[in-house]
């Protein structure tokens, strides 16, 4: 049986002209001849760079001489001939040519992503957050505060005496429960007396006037501050920022090049989950914080009862859990009720 031949185009690498040629593989050599039978190339197959086989693209062979061969291979005859001559395909190519392997690879990919997302990233972010120079973290916090001051919050209008009382109670409690933890309490107000408190990197705790007035009872305020101090102790802000960076890196690996925008959807949804875990940790810290003051978890519990009333009044209780940055109030109430007993 004669050696099979394959029609191809040869480019010499110096001119754009395509020369129709005939190619055959002979004793592990690539032999290229013109239509008239004049031999143009004779090169060892293992010295040619052969492109991966694709369903609808020709194979490209780059020869050491600088010439390139474009071999159409719709019927895969050339592919079979290459394999017969001992050409090995890379593992990745063999894997993706086999649908079962692709399905297994997909399952492995999902498992790996889940492991990275639920275990790997939080652990890495935690490690980095605690290894971060305090100066750098403090500066991050200062910058965030500057942004908030510029765009969102205004100076507090709370009675200075009341402010000092809250500060002093809080600093006594903090010194007892978490000595050596650097924090800074900042009073601000937002919108029409927004009810909120937040912790920034570097130990900055922002308390909004609205929350103090809404809580009424100062023990409740102390409970919320204990919760925020929990965020500070666990470095939640820095960890969240680092985690969202990690999720962003993962997302751009998966859907990169498509669009930075499209890749940021999973980032936004992804970091929500971490926040809820952080809230649980901070709640636990708040309970310990109140206990150390000889208080039970009751003030915090009562505060959340009021929050629930506010939520149902505003009709916001129906927000699905996965979209929420805090565990649903019901869930929190349940946990706190258990702590009171």
């Amino acid at each position: 049986m004669s050696t099979p031949t394959f029609p191809a185009f040869r480019f010499d690498g110096r001119h754009a002209e395509a020369l129709p040629v005939v190619l055959r593989i002979e004793n592990a050599y690539v032999v290229v001849e013109t239509a008239e039978g004049i031999e143009l190339e004779r090169e060892r197959l293992d010295r040619a760079v052969v492109s991966e086989p694709l369903d609808h693209a020709p194979r490209l062979l780059s020869l050491p001489s600088g010439a390139t061969l474009e071999v159409p291979d719709a019927d895969r005859g050339f592919r079979r001939e290459l394999e017969r001559a001992g050409g090995r395909l890379s593992l990745a190519v063999r894997l993706q040519g086999w649908w079962l392997a692709v399905v297994i690879a997909l399952a492995a990919l999902v498992a790996l992503l889940a492991a990275a997302y639920f275990k790997g990233l939080p652990a890495a972010a935690r490690w980095v957050a605690f290894a971060l120079p305090p100066r750098l973290e403090a500066r991050m916090g200062d910058q965030l505060l500057a942004v908030l001051d510029k765009h969102y919050v205004r100076p507090s209008r709370l009675d200075p005496v009341r402010r000092r009382r809250i500060s002093e109670r809080f600093s006594r409690a903090a010194a007892a429960v978490a000595p050596g933890v650097a924090y800074r309490l900042e009073f601000r107000t937002v919108g029409e007396n927004g009810v909120n408190a937040l912790a920034l990197p570097g130990g900055i705790i922002i308390l909004l006037d609205g929350l103090v007035e809404f809580a009424g009872d100062e023990d409740g305020v102390l409970g919320v501050l204990g919760h925020e101090l929990g965020h500070v102790v666990h470095k939640h802000s820095a960890r969240e920022i680092l985690q969202s960076v990690g999720v962003g890196v993962l997302a751009s690996l998966l859907w990169g090049d498509f669009s930075g925008m499209a890749a940021s959807v999973p980032v936004a949804l992804g970091v929500l989950r971490y926040s809820r875990d952080s809230e649980r940790e901070a709640d636990e810290f708040a309970v310990a914080f109140l206990r150390a003051q000889g208080l039970s978890a009751r003030p915090l519990y009562e505060f959340f009862i009021k929050v629930r009333a506010l939520e149902s009044r505003l009709g916001v209780a129906d927000i699905p859990d996965f979209l929420s940055t805090h565990p649903s109030t019901e869930e929190r109430l349940e946990r706190l009720r258990r702590e009171i007993r």
Binding site: F9, V22, S51, E70, L106, D257, T325, H326
Partner: protein, 469 residues
């Protein structure tokens, strides 16, 4: 526009015997009657054998592989039809059979349209394997994955019966990415340390930025081939600094001034300057990219269109406003409960979510208009010698495609992504038209490109510089 009869006669007269034979093998259907007659006349004058027309009939059997000296022309004329509806909509006068890739207008004006034969299902398999290995190697394989992806998209892009090739060296790309990572990390964190460290980083970035930019262009082009010839990028360093440095400085200015003045009122002025100069900056980079690209020893040319860029940006701004209004409504609904719920403490997170909503809406609503109009402008002003380009890309079909891509990608948790990428590539590629006076296959030239170190390749990726040709 088209060349005259005497010019054509001169061209054929200057061609070598081989070239004439090659031209004749393309078949009479590739030429106007006049051009074909002139070609035959010249061949007869030289005593060359009259070449039978190449078979172009669609029904002709593919030549058997073992047939004696089977010329692959018939097989080559045929680019596999993708058979998928999302292709560029053609105007009726171009509605030619898939086999005939060229069209002749008055006197030998040839129009070739590009074809894309990639399939979502095939790319999906490459994507999954690439991702798995990338994760297993903690990202190191990403350079190899990038090369395999680039090869898939280039080798499925056809022009005039031949495909493009990609030859990037993964190790060089990996080095480039590590360098980019260091620079990006330095830029992100330096100001957190101190203003001095920040300014030092910005200065370094300005110093190496233009150099990285030309390296990125050079690497991308020098590793792309067509018909056995590499593309190239021929910018001098001095020219690159003159062009890229002002753009880079304007880009960094708002951030730097805001940081140094702690955001007290100064922010708005540099940001306003950046906004007003943005179309100018974009045009400047595009023009620089095109003017310095070379293929086959010839340099691409680009006619300036700053005014057109401004027109597109101003009109597109209306669409951005529409997207902004929609985003505002969504965000208002979202923030209604976020602001009021007492324990949400992460404003950082809120900003991220609002940014995502707004960004996605702008990408879907205004993105296609910008992309389509700017590509039309850029392609129609690009030339390579006598070769002209244009694109039939339109904002509305592109909008429909992007909407479908985003919707299906979100609904399938991202699994539709490979199909989306292929559909987008197909639409963009198949809209491109290449016009020339002689068939593309008749153009021959010399090569003199060398793939450079890839320091810039990954850097351009990480900084998100669009380097698509």
């Amino acid at each position: 526009m088209s060349i005259t009869e005497s010019q054509l006669r001169e061209q054929y007269g200057n061609a070598s015997d081989e070239e004439l034979l090659f031209l004749a093998r393309q078949g009479s259907s590739q030429y106007t009657d006049t051009a074909w007659a002139l070609l035959r006349e010249e061949m007869t004058r030289r005593g060359l054998p009259p070449t039978p027309e190449a078979q172009r009939s669609e029904s002709s059997e593919e030549p058997r592989a073992d047939a004696p000296v089977a010329l692959p022309l018939a097989r080559w004329g045929e680019v596999p039809d993708s058979g998928i509806p999302e292709r560029c909509e053609k105007s009726s006068d171009e509605d030619l059979p898939a086999l005939a890739e060229s069209e002749t207008s008055p006197l030998t004006r040839h129009v070739a349209s590009a074809r894309f034969t990639g399939r979502g299902g095939e790319y999906f398999r490459i994507w999954v394997v690439n991702l798995l290995v990338t994760l297993l190697t903690l990202g190191l394989y990403s350079a190899w994955a990038k090369v395999r992806k680039a090869k898939y998209f280039r080798q499925n892009t056809w022009l005039d019966g031949h495909v493009f090739g990609y030859h990037g060296n993964p190790v060089a790309i990996l080095r480039g990415r590590l360098l980019a990572l260091v620079l990006l990390a330095a830029y992100t964190w330096a100001f957190q340390f101190s203003n001095r460290a920040g300014l030092l980083t910005v200065t370094t970035l300005c110093a190496v930025g233009p150099w990285l930019f030309i390296r990125a262009q050079r690497f991308a082009l020098a590793n792309t081939s067509f018909r056995g010839l590499r593309f190239g990028f021929r910018a001098r360093a001095g020219e690159a600094y003159g062009t890229v440095l002002p753009v880079l400085a304007l880009w960094l200015l708002p951030e730097v001034t805001e940081t140094l003045t702690s955001g007290k009122g100064w922010f708005s002025i540099p940001a306003l300057v950046l906004g007003l100069a943005f179309p100018w900056m974009h045009h400047r980079l595009k023009a620089f990219q095109r003017r310095n690209a070379v293929y086959g020893g010839r340099q691409f040319t680009f006619t300036s269109a700053t005014g057109h860029f401004y027109a597109v940006y101003i009109k597109g701004f209306g669409l951005v406003l529409v997207a902004g209004v929609v985003a505002g409504v969504v965000i208002a609904w979202f923030s209604a409960w976020m602001r009021e719920s007492p324990t949400v403490r992460s404003w950082f997170l809120e900003t991220l979510i609002y940014g995502t909503i707004a960004g996605l809406l702008v990408y879907v609503v205004a993105g296609p208009y910008y992309a389509a109009r700017l590509q039309q402008i850029v392609w129609s002003r690009t030339r390579l010698g006598d070769i002209r380009f244009r694109t039939e890309i339109q904002a509305l079909p592109l909008f429909r495609l992007v909407l479908k891509n985003v919707a299906l990608t979100v609904l399938t948790c991202g699994l539709y992504w490979p199909w989306a990428a292929v559909a987008l590539a197909r639409y963009r590629v198949e809209c491109v038209r290449v016009e020339s006076d002689v068939p593309l296959s008749a153009l021959a030239a010399s090569l003199e490109t060398h793939p450079g170190s890839a320091a810039g390749e990954g850097a351009a990726d990480a900084f998100g510089i669009d380097i698509g040709l």
